[in-house]
């Protein structure tokens, strides 16, 4: 590729600048978290006596252990069920293509654009009538439904690329549709499935609106929902709030950095399908 030295340099400078803008809020949060509780530190000043204890305090007052456990339970409820149901439906719409499959699929496509705020009010009454208010099921079940359009569209996109010959060969060997699905197609869908799992994990973990509407007890919410409650309680103690916010970020950041290659790929594809 022909590019001049000057253009490459401009590119590098712009990129570094954009990265700096992305990172500085995190740095500011971190530096502020190290100041004495109750103070209003300014800008990016490094404290004279870094208060590492703030993190311990925040961990304690935010009840982080319970929050982590709660978020994990919610993720374990949402992600596996969404994957199984989404894959089955994606297989049906993308590969089996039964009569009328286009209409069914279109119903899911339209669901892609639906803002959660659009249905949160009746959802509250429905979850209440089911007797599930203030339980983790109040977050888990609606999220499975709300993520279903994306899961189905995502998995269908994988299954339409699978050649029909593959299934024909399996059928000649006497496989039923169910065996064909589990033995042949699910193993081949693993890359698509794991990317979908990453996205669903992230969206569940970060879910805020449903968490604050449907569950009163912060210890039964998602991490993001609990962070909202923490802010309400400690909003005036800036260093403690910053320390708490950072602690709540740690799990996702850790998972992101460990699986960053898959994450980046999934996020890029995910937004282009959404």
């Amino acid at each position: 590729m022909i590019t001049t030295r000057r253009e490459t340099l401009t590119g590098r400078i712009l990129l570094v600048l954009l990265m700096a803008i992305t990172i500085i809020p995190f740095v500011s949060l971190f530096v502020t978290a190290l100041h004495p509780a109750g103070t209003y530190p300014s800008g990016l000043a490094w404290p004279d006596h870094p208060q590492w204890g703030n993190f311990v305090d925040a961990f304690r007052v935010a009840n982080m252990g319970a929050l982590l456990w709660s978020s994990i339970l919610i993720v374990l409820g949402v992600v596996p069920i969404s994957l199984v149901l989404g894959t089955m439906a994606g297989f049906a719409f993308g590969h089996l293509r039964m009569p009328g499959h286009r209409i069914g699929f279109l119903a899911f496509v339209l669901g892609l654009t639906l803002p959660f705020e659009g249905i949160v009010t009746p959802l509250y009454y429905q979850v209440r009538d089911l007797g599930l208010l203030n339980t983790r099921w109040a977050i888990i079940l609606p999220l499975i439904g709300l993520f279903m359009p994306f899961s189905v569209v995502w998995m269908r996109a994988h299954f339409v690329t699978m050649p029909d010959e593959l299934s024909e060969a399996a059928r000649i060997d006497g496989a039923s549709t169910w065996q064909l699905f589990w033995r042949v197609h699910v193993p081949l869908a693993m890359p698509a499935l794991s990317s979908l799992a990453i996205l669903l994990f992230l969206w569940t973990w970060n879910q805020f609106l449903l968490a604050i509407v449907l569950v009163d007890d912060p210890a039964k919410r998602t991490m993001a929902g609990a962070l909202g409650a923490f802010q309400g309680q400690w909003g005036t103690n800036i260093p403690l709030l910053c320390a708490g916010a950072l602690l709540i970020l740690v799990p996702t950041l850790a998972v992101f950095l460990i699986f960053q290659r898959r994450f980046v790929a999934a996020l890029l594809q995910g937004s282009s399908k959404g």
Binding site: T22, G118, T121, Y124, F208, T252
Partner: protein, 296 residues
């Protein structure tokens, strides 16, 4: 393709059995609430007692009550910050770094620029509330360059609160747009650029004549994702301004929440919810039509 299709032995109704569980949860937890939202929107109901049918009164109020209507206007204004700025900035940055897309710097950038996508929006809201507060970094920087006169509590000022919320959204979305567009650029045939260079095109000409037209689909994706984020914004505003000061940052999502769960005006909340859903469709469907060239 046609001949191939004809060879398929059977296309039975059995496929619906595979789709049934997904359809069931979708129907119970999305379609039914959606239908109920529409139904509630024609009633006056406090969520507990009896409800009264009021026809289109709630919708009428939506368009005549300045405070309610303002939420929709704010959402549309946020599109400038959530969508327009990230997409335009993303385009220019991506075009500028196209040449080094394979370098080590670009690898690091992929991770760094995704950070705002990975953290909860609530956390972004908390972070930026602090940065934009009267003693925060934004004001410290202004003072450092001698612009003390401009410093203020950005999120607490009537004139700056909405743009300040917009900046938070732009921060969240600009990295995603940049990387999506960069990924799109990497698919453009380098021979096109070489041909353009040999014809004497400069970087600007190159951008308008090759890069931009080839990115139609990616730009469409960016605009769709960011416009939905703008219209359905809730988390950031809930933690950073709670709609204030004086309702200057209230958006439909936030107002639905307050109407339904604090003021117990379920009917009105539902009418606003219906309006929001329609607004999203009206904004997003044309974008899809314009940018998808029927390949899907």
């Amino acid at each position: 393709m046609v001949a191939h299709r004809a060879r398929r032995p059977r296309r039975s109704w059995g496929g619906w059995l595979f789709a049934a569980p997904a359809i069931l949860v979708y129907a119970v937890f999305v379609l039914r609430p959606l239908a109920l939202t529409v139904q509630y929107s024609f009633y006056d109901w406090n969520g507990i007692g009896a409800s009264t049918f009021v026809g289109v009164d709630n919708y009428q109020r939506l368009f005549t009550d300045p405070e309610l209507f303002a939420t929709i206007v704010h959402a549309l204004e946020l599109i400038i910050f959530f969508s327009f700025i990230p997409v335009v900035l993303g385009l220019f940055v991506a075009a500028a770094i196209r040449g080094i897309a394979t370098s080590r710097l670009a690898t690091v950038a992929r991770v760094v620029l995704f950070l705002p996508q990975v953290i909860p929006l609530v956390a972004a809201g908390i972070m930026w509330s602090w940065l934009l507060s009267s003693t925060g970094l934004a004001n410290a920087l202004l003072s450092a360059v001698g612009l003390d006169g401009l410093t203020r509590a950005w999120l607490g000022d009537f004139d700056t609160a909405l743009p300040a919320v917009g900046v938070i959204g732009a921060w969240v979305l600009v990295g995603l747009c940049t990387l999506l567009l960069l990924a799109g650029m990497s698919k453009i045939d380098p021979a096109l650029y070489e041909a353009a260079r040999l014809d004497g095109a400069g970087p600007i000409r190159e951008f308008w004549s090759i890069t931009l037209p080839s990115l139609r689909q990616e730009i469409g994706v960016c605009v769709t994702v960011t416009v939905i984020a703008a219209l359905a914004s809730f988390d950031i505003i809930f933690v950073s301004t709670q709609g204030g000061p004086g309702g200057s940052t209230s958006v439909p999502g936030l107002e639905i929440y307050y109407l339904a769960f604090s003021e117990r005006e379920v009917g009105m909340a539902s009418a606003l919810a219906v309006a929001l859903v329609v607004l999203v469709l009206v904004c997003v469907l044309p974008i899809q039509r314009l940018t998808r060239d029927g390949s899907r």
